[in-house]
Symmetry: C4
Subunit: 365 residues, 4 copies
């Protein structure tokens, strides 16, 4: 495999050579000054591994479950809107690639292909990411998702208002393809296209999503519910009290709300607050197997990757997504063994060291 991309960064470098400039920038961009996008990485770098040796690590268990569904390793595909910009087969290819890696894909409300076709395209389990844009639309989406076989609803909570990405603004970027889940109901397209990846900023036109809507949503479906975007112990506490099944700690890749901490910095306080009553996942900044291991050591059950899926798609469609995931599997497997661990579900206490001053105690005053 000598000349294949060897790391996720290799995929990034090749994708940059392939993608049209504005699509590339749309994928890379973060909100405003992109400080959170950068901090997602620097925060991971600040955490250090503490490997243990002289153990039998021949047999390593990478598989785990998320909400009871088995995945072959604890790296999933984040929900991200509109995969056609990276490859004509869009989400169909992503689903196929994730399936080849036997892991879970979260499909965005803003996908370019309809959810039903995406479910057909790939063999792996799927969760449906939901943007709540009114009771009727949500009801329609959730029922379709349930019917189509999605195993959970991932409700994005961090877009009460859309965040402009200034690179997109300067590029006059517009989503170039219609949204697959609304092809039959064209009148919804406009309302959706501007939600989390809007090229120009505008006030939200949709009814607010609050803890009350959450209750309503829980009554609407028997599917388990994951909240995506929670960034504080306080919200995590309310979430588990509300009976939420999972929390996906995320900065939305730094694409929503700049100037927050990196996702991995928020993880410890959220894990502590959720007290085992909900599974905790993480995305934003995962680029190496060691990032996966760090997140797991700090209490995440699994992580997911966003921008890398576009890079995989751009390099080689479904094969690229699969290849990118296999890079992470190989690295995680390596790091697990290198650190004397044999199961992603039973990691050593003190496997990582974090900088002095991190954690719940750092708030002011």
């Amino acid at each position: 495999m000598s000349d294949a991309p060897f790391s996720v960064y290799d995929y990034e470098a090749r994708a940059k050579l392939t993608l049209p400039h504005d699509f590339w920038e749309f994928i890379e961009a973060g909100a405003m000054d992109e400080s959170t996008t950068r901090r997602n990485r620097s925060a991971f770098e600040a955490i250090k591994l503490r490997p243990r040796f002289l153990r039998d690590v021949e047999n390593r268990k990478l598989s785990t479950t998320v909400l009871g569904t088995e995945i072959s390793f604890p790296v999933m595909v984040s929900p991200a809107g509109g995969h056609k910009i990276a490859h004509p087969d869009g989400e169909l290819a992503t689903a196929k690639g994730a399936g080849m890696s036997n892991t879970l894909m979260m499909l965005s409300t803003s996908s370019h292909y309809p959810m039903e076709e995406v479910v057909e395209a790939g063999t792996g389990p799927k969760w449906f990411q939901l943007y709540h844009r009114g009771y009727e639309i949500t009801e329609m989406l959730v029922h379709r998702a349930e019917e189509a076989g999605f195993k959970a609803i991932v409700l994005t909570v961090d877009t009460p208002v859309p965040s402009p990405k200034e690179r997109d603004v300067h590029n006059h970027y517009k989503n170039p393809f219609p949204l697959g889940n609304f092809l039959a109901t064209g009148e919804e397209l406009t309302a959706m296209s501007g939600t989390d990846e809007a090229p120009d900023w505008r006030p939200a036109l949709v009814p607010p999503l609050t803890w009350k809507e959450l209750e309503w949503l829980q009554g609407l479906t028997s599917l388990p519910l994951v909240l995506k975007g929670i960034r504080t112990a306080e919200d995590a506490h309310v979430a588990v009290e509300s009976g939420v099944n999972g929390i996906l700690v995320s900065t939305h890749g730094g694409r929503q709300i700049d100037q927050t901490m990196g996702a991995i910095e928020m993880l410890p306080e959220i894990v502590e607050a959720s007290k085992g009553q909900a599974e905790v996942y993480l995305d934003s900044g995962v680029r190496r197997g060691s990032d996966v291991l760090k997140a797991l050591a700090l209490g995440a059950r699994a992580v997911s990757v966003g921008r890398p899926l576009y890079w995989g798609l751009a390099v080689n469609g479904a094969e690229g997504v699969h290849g990118m995931l296999e890079v992470l599997r190989r690295e995680l497997d390596h790091d697990l063994a290198a650190c004397g661990q044999t199961s992603v579900e039973e990691l050593e206490p003190n496997l990582v060291s974090v900088p002095a001053g991190w954690g719940p105690g750092q708030m002011y005053p």
Copy 2:
């Protein structure tokens, strides 16, 4: 609005293309090594937002009051000398732009237009910034300000001696226009021109301004009094004991006294020391709506912007000032919603996290 400046930094970039080199440098420059100018920014960057979600944030209240005067959002215009270098209409345009945004403008003693004309030019409320340069001049200025309808006196305290800006020294920069408030009394011009923006350094030629003069000043007018430039809890404590109505925490944009902390770093100790007996404001380094939110979360009632007003003027006169302010309003409104807040007057405790080691405890020994 696609090609209009989208951020305050866009205004800066355009202004740089427009302004003559020496004027540009005069505006950008800080005292000596400009370390405080830089630290104003890095200190803001070090503070991180902790957003809360799943709340109804449809109705957001950005308006607030400063000393009882309503402003449409908590961003005001800092007093800054001589606006004609950025636009021929100078302070008249600034006043008009601030008025269009329904916010307050602080007018500098060193303005290029007379205070009476500035008051006429704009519809928003105004405070008069005072450099004390002797009893007679101060009396003249304060009485004129009172008569002209200014609503408060903002006494600058951080210029007991003028600070050279070395870029100006190397450019042989001289204020190119006469000072508007002294057109009738030409003999004062020299004494004033060198105060806080003097191109060449010289000892102050004016009687000292002390807590005693403050008392005298309070007897001179019924207008409320704001102290601009306070940088320590110790001085804030004396100020509130002296019956001051407001404190504008400021590093003078790093243009007076290099090597202090950033303004936002000083804010917490000053808020604590003022114990609600005086309103606390902040300027120096505010470039984003998130900066406004951070300052408010740490106890400021409102902030103001200095250099950005010149950038707005240079880009498009009154419209540019207005546009720049509207950028900040849009960003603050966004960040407020994005963080689950609905009123600038009632922010969440723990809305921000600050680096370990910040705050009153960091002094030596």
Copy 3:
């Protein structure tokens, strides 16, 4: 000696001009993002010396013992595979150079010359570095090492799986010479060549090395045993309980397992955990006499150098290795005197200051 290399960095600069590109990169490379390789240096830089003066430092004792064997100064040669890439005489030259400096050389299992020839080539003491790759091979190697006169076995513990170096992967790098210790048994060559410096990653094909194998190994030979690569207090604790004679704290030059702390950062907790029951050494990042002094002040008995031996070889074979070692001796001798110390075995308490937050207390939570 004016134009001779004056510092270890001078050796590095000259070696770079001399070595073929892919050999140079093989030597310089670290695992994955090479973050640990960099951190080995930044961690040393963060430690500061606290020199004491006005003492008689005329007579300085640099010599010390390691496991009872005298060395002329506490800098040894790390085990590193395959020296022929830097000089045709390979390990023979290294052994000669180390002998000229009267210090100890550790010989890698993966050497290009057979261990018996290397022992003959140099006058200094030698330890044999062992990669455990199965009971039979280990038995063969240990017995040969014992017979050949090696004074200890240095068992590498940090390669339960090989770590890819991505520079090597992109260079399609392959070890260009056969492994000397297996010339008679050619069938082992493949298994060995990929161990710690494998150009392409592959799962380990060898039986696991665990604390049980350690016990077996201790029964196999009367030579003292050093564990190389221990990175935590926890493992150090088990090691001394297991009767190990020495611990070589090492990050493998950052070539195995990226994202750990720098070696010098791990040293204090390991010294503390070993409680004088085992000697503690350090490699990874030593480039200056001051690094040696810092490591000794934090509890190491001696250090060793890896990459610099290749630089010395590339510059001038045995003479180059000797010259590089003499640079370190001269610098250590200088720093010892400059800091008021007269013996490497009796250093001042508080001779170094380390950054706040270092040490055992920094782990999370």
Copy 4:
């Protein structure tokens, strides 16, 4: 004075244009990696001023005394060897410039002009810096210094062995002029020339300087004694117990012993240890009036400057030295007023804030 150098950095920039490359490098260089030279600056930058306002600061007292001798402001000239490399008049010009600024000059044992001529050349007070190189030489030098009117002996303690500056080594730099104090006794020249600025490293050839020699030296002269180069509280403690009159905290500009903390970082622990029984001064890294103020606020009685004297000399001989000193006086005077202080001898407590973790508590373990 528009085109005259306005800051010490302006002097540096001009000197660089004027001086021959090797002389420039000799002046700029630090020992080994020059990390201490850089840290001298970064440590000053990390300290922040906390200015107080609304005080009468019209009358400011910059003058102070050092060991009872009045100087017009608390900035002195550090002893530095061989001024002829910057100007033909060498130390004669320096003495004249220092005298014009009414401050004290410390003259190096390694001066290019004899001490008697230097005393004649300038009107200000002088201290004689002593390198102890044997009883006879020291006796000769001290007696001559006493006779010539020097007011104190500044004994350098931080050169038990000379430190190579690698820039000088690579430049084959040799001190190009004979040492003035040994013109009559030419045979001493060689022994002296290699002491603290040796272009090539060699072991010290002189008898050791210890606390015992200090006692002998105290018996040799009635002049007060200052120790230059003390870097720890421990040595400061012994020094004051030994009856030393002053301590000059110094890193030798980073030219002796790399890898120590910056001078200003060491100051607090030394001030604390000396408990008012000896005056404490500081050099190394002073480039701004604010540096002076910071050092004074942390307990120094005065500071001195080394490299800047060469820059002044290179720009304009005696006038340049004087001008450079006047820059510092103007800046110190400004900062004093700007911070609400009126006397260098009575500074505000809490005038500076230092980073968390500084100070005596930061040592390991």
